[in-house]
Structure formats: C-alpha cells, structure tokens
Amino acid sequence: MLEIIIPGLILGGFALISASGLLVASKKFYVFEDPRIAEVNEMLPGANCGGCGFAGCLAFAEHLVKNEDTDAICPVASGEEMQKILAFLGREAAVGEKMVASLMCNGTHDNCKSQMDYAGIEDCWAATLVTDSTKACSFACIGLGSCVKACNFDAMHIENGIVVIDDEKCTGCGLCVPACPKNLLHMRPYKKYITVACYNTDRGADARKACTVACIGCLKCEKACNYDAIHVNNFLAKIDYQKCTNCGDCVTVCPTNSIIIRGQEVHVAVENV
C-alpha cells in the first residue's frame, strides 16, 4: 500500500508546487489586453494573408483597435463586414469596392510562341535570372507560377502558359502583385471587367511580331471610347477604371484582340456586343 501512497504524495506535491508557481506567475506578470482585439479578430475573415500590410489578422485587429485609422481595410473582408467591424469600434467606415487581380497579358502558348527550351528551376523569378522571358515577347507572362504560390485563396492557376485568375475566389488581397517579376498583375474593380491584356511597350510592329494579341498602340480604342476612359501611352493602351462603363466599344474596335472581357460575364457581354 505504501508503495502507492508515497509516489502519489511525491507527485501530488510536485503538482501543487507547480500549480502555485503558475498561479503566482499569472498574477504577477499579467498584461492587460483590450478584449476588443480578440473580438475584432473573430470578426475578421481569418485568412492570415497579410494583404492588409500587417503580420496576420491578429496584428491587424490590434492596429484597428489601437489606432483611429479609417483607411486601413481588410482586402478579404467585404465592405459590409468591414463596416460591421468599424461600427463595433464606434467608427465611420469607408466603404471599399471589391477589387480583383487581373493579368495584363494574354500570351498563351498559342498567341506568343515559346522561344527557348527552359530547363531551370520552375519559378518565374528564377527564370528571370536566366533570361528576360521564355516567350517571344519579353513582357509576357512567364507562366511558372510565382503568383500561384503567393495566392492563399486558390484563385490562380496556370493554363496554357499564362496565369488565369478566378474572379470569384480572388479576394483582392494583392499579394500576387509583387510576386510577379514582370509586373503584369494589376488590381481592378471586380465590376469593371474590361482589361487590356498586354503590357508590351515596344513599337507596334515589334510587338505584333512577338505576339498575335499584342497591343500595337493603334489608338483605335482611344477614339472609340465615348467616356475618355482609355488612353494609349508608350504604344500601350491603359483603362481608367474611374471612367470605364463596361460598354465594350474598345473591345470591338481592337484589331489585335488585346482588349478582353474578364470573368463570368464574358458570355453575356460578348453576345451584347
């Protein structure tokens, strides 16, 4: 009997001492933390993507609670969610529009021929250490998926040599933008689905030689636009999304089909055109 009691007492004693140690420590080293931080953290989407510029959701929640920063937004949360959080903190919310990433290139293997037999590491940045671009157009999407690796939401996939973005899954966190060595990923409003899928600033003839769907800077879109929303600069068209109305006139006139309609509205829009 004693063989059981003695070890029991010894271990029990240890447990008691440790427990009182913990108790003292928890009282002595107690740090006050605003309980709202935990609550705001609960309300955030919890993607921990870092798209807000902070080290995860908790850090962002802490920032929101401690600072009167009305510009700080979670790119993943919808406007309503963000409003709810700010209302909880007793502040006015600036309603943000949902943004999505879009690729400024349509240089698929069919449109823009591969120019070499690249055999290095399968990463866009690694490829740029060996060559400017694996394709005929030196501005083109390399298609080795550095952005895919950066995306936390499974919104990006490589198809036929370029990255294809799922607008529904894209949360607009913007992490893919700096991940592209060719600087081809740009944010646009979710509802503005017309994009110039080209980033080539070479002269028209050179650009056309490199890729069948390159923007040649012909100015037809600029003339066709009734809203002053598209401008050609340095042989490349650029859409001003503040003014764009999704009318699709530029898409119709583009001789090289370098202006395209993104997202699931494609079919509807094309039929309307």
């Binding site: 591969s114 120019q115 070499m116 037999d117 399968e122 490589i158």
Partner: protein, 328 residues
Amino acid sequence: METTNKVEVKNRLLFMDSSPLGHVSDSTVKIMYTVCITLLPALAVSVWMFGWEAVRVIVLTSVFTIAIEAIISKMVSYKVNFMDGSALLTGILLAMNIPANSPWWMILVGALVAVILGKHVFGGLGQNIFNPALVARVFLIISFPVEMTSWPKPLVYDSTTGATPLGILKTEGLGALAGTNLTDLAIGQMGGSLGEISAIALLLGAIWLFIKKYITWEIPVMFFATVAVFAGIFHLIDPQTYASPLFHLLTGGVFLGALYMATDMVTSPMTFKGKLIFGFGCGFFTMLIRLFGSYPEGVSFAILLMNAMVPLLDSYFPDQKFGMVKNG
C-alpha cells in the same frame, strides 16, 4: 506542384539553363550501387562461414526492402525511385545486422521497420534522421531477444547456435575466451550477424569507397581510435577483466559500424568538426555500453544516439566560411 504545363515545341529551340552546364558523372544511383558492390567481400565471407542460410537472408532482406519501397512509392506524395539502390542498400545492410538463421517473418518485420519507420516517416530518402538498417536491428533486438542472440556457429552449417565473442565476454568473463585467435577474428571466424564478422573483408570494400571519396577518414578513424583508447585504458588498469583493444576492435560491429553504418551520408554530419565529434561519440558510447551496459554489444545504439545529434553537430560546428580570417 502542378504549376506548369509544358507544351510540345515544334521548332527545336535552344536550351536555356542556369550555369554550370557541366556535371560530373556521379549520381545518387551510382553511389548507392557502388556501396552495395563494396559490401560483396563481406557478404562472401558470411556465405563462407554460414553457408546457404546467409544467402537466404541476403536475398530475403533485399527483396523485402525493395518490394516495400515499391509499395510505399505508390502511397506517398513525393517521388520515390525504388530502384535507385537506396532500398537495396538498406536491405543488404539489414541482412548484415541479423543472424543467418533469422526466420523469414522476422526479416519481414525488420524490412518493414527499416523502410517505413526508418525512412519514410521522415519524408523519404535524405530526410531520415536515423540509419534505417540500424533502426530495424535495434527494433529486432528489443522485440525478439531470443532470435537475435542465438547466433549460428561459423563453418558448421547446421542449426547449432552459440554466443558472439562479446556475448561470452559479457556473460562468462575474459577467462572463457582464452583460446581465441585474433587472426580468426580478423577473418571473421566467429559467431555473429552476417556482416559484422569479417573485419578484413569490410576494410577491403571500404578502401574502394575511400578511393572514390564516398566516405571520408574522419568518422571511421575517430571511431576506431576512441574504441581503442577506451578499451586500452581499461585493459592497462586490469588486464584480467578487460579485453585488449584489438579484441574490441575486431569483434562485434565496430568495423561494420565505423566503415558503413556511421559513414552513411544521410545520417552523418557534413562538417569537418562535426564528423570528428560524431566519430568520437560513436566509439565512446559503444565502449560505454560494452563495458558497463547490459547489452554485450553497443555499436548500433551508439550510432543511433549520435545520429540524433547530427543536426546539432552540423549547426554548432560549421566549416569556417571564406573571408572570416583576420588578415595579419
């Protein structure tokens, strides 16, 4: 990761890659099979000593390990090339670590432990912390003590079994070994597992590995030296109780351990100082277990212990970088 879909390119294009564009002819496969081949002399001695039973064990371990690896390769997410020689090497090393009269089911258990617990739980080739064959050996020693301590007698070719010289030393003391001839021990005429018996044959194979630079001198030399010095000190203090350093070097698994097990690339340190400490530790723990432990033999435990220290050794004793020397 399926991030690219390479297209068929019709026009042949120039090849683009990062420098360097040359490469030596060495490959993992070549290294693995070379090590297997250098083990042949030791295997030949074991066949000479134990007859067809030894052949049976070698064939069974090799077939089992390769078959298990082949099955594993279908189940895991990473790529496994079960014919790259690493599975075969694990099989042969496992054979060298068990007695010639091992029953087939024990070999199967050993092979399962070696390949799965020893290697693939860590993530496959190159990721394992412990030497797979030794993990299996230790597992078998602990699980099947009877089968793993009844060693067949050499040159008898029947079912009579006996103890290893180290076993006799442990149980009956040095006096019982009075008639032992050191030459017999060097050739391998003693009871023991398949591979550990012949020091000369093992050394013969290892010389080729030294020439090919697949193993370096640091670990074996430190291992041998530590065993010899440790045993020597005790032999000098009390020659009646403690066997001579030479006896300790030639019996048991010191040669197999120092030349093939401890020098396993995956589970040994990569830095110079790390290798020295690793070799020292292996020898030290071997002798500690042999002289004061309850097991007669300690090589496998010692090497496994030191295997666990490898990541620490590598990071605490790195090779000195260029440009860190103060120029006088």
